[in-house]
Assembly symmetry: C2
Homo-oligomer: 131 residues x 2
């Protein structure tokens, strides 16, 4: 099982390819639609799609003369798996900060108790350090 290869990351290193993935995430597209939407030339679009395909980040299906591209979520999940340990650390840090803030607020009010939990995995992106 290929797992996340070098090609996967290399493919994501290019901003145009990330833009293509952002479009494809919303809906599957033919090559021509991507050309229209993003304004790259047709050969460039095809070449980038080739890279994404080799990286396992998109799938292609044929419909008449069109090739319909869509995101391969499984590979994305593997990427996510690499990132997960870091996210865990990040969430731990948020929890610490949260507990500290809660305690501080409680101390100021003169009571104690645990303010809302911060246990959601997705929340890492939502709660930003107050700066």
């Amino acid at each position: 099982m290929a797992s996340v290869t070098d090609a996967t990351w290399t493919a994501l290193a290019d901003p145009r390819r990330r833009a293509m993935l952002d479009v494809l995430r919303v809906r599957a597209c033919a090559v021509g639609e991507l050309v229209d939407e993003l304004g790259f030339t047709q050969p460039a679009t095809s070449k980038h799609l080739r890279v994404l395909r080799d990286a396992g980040l998109v799938r292609v299906r044929t419909h008449a003369q069109q090739r319909i591209y869509s995101v391969d979520l499984e590979r994305m999940a593997e990427l996510d798996a690499w990132l997960a340990p870091f996210r865990r650390l990040w969430n731990e840090r948020l929890d610490e900060l949260g507990r500290h803030l809660d305690r501080t607020a409680a101390a100021e009010r003169g009571d104690d108790g645990d303010g809302g939990g911060r246990g959601d995995g997705d929340g890492a992106a939502k709660r930003t350090r107050g700066g």
Copy 2:
């Protein structure tokens, strides 16, 4: 606010740099420790660290003659934020699959009910399609 720039992804595209991040995730390291642990030459190590630093993926702090590098979790969280919409789709797909399996199993047993929810953000990596 820089957010996730090109440099961030480009930095991650190199397997050596990802290896360095994996080491630094566990504990902060001096350059020499990374050299010993990963076996790259000292200049190469410094250059890769420079790239990671410019990308905002690591921080450095000085301790005597040593430079102690550690992961910058905030930038990692931003990366995670880019990935989040894809993760959401992936989880939805798992939910669908899970509901389908639950329904199928229930139908076979002749009862009904909702098998455990799959609402945790982190779980994407844990539940793999039954292949």
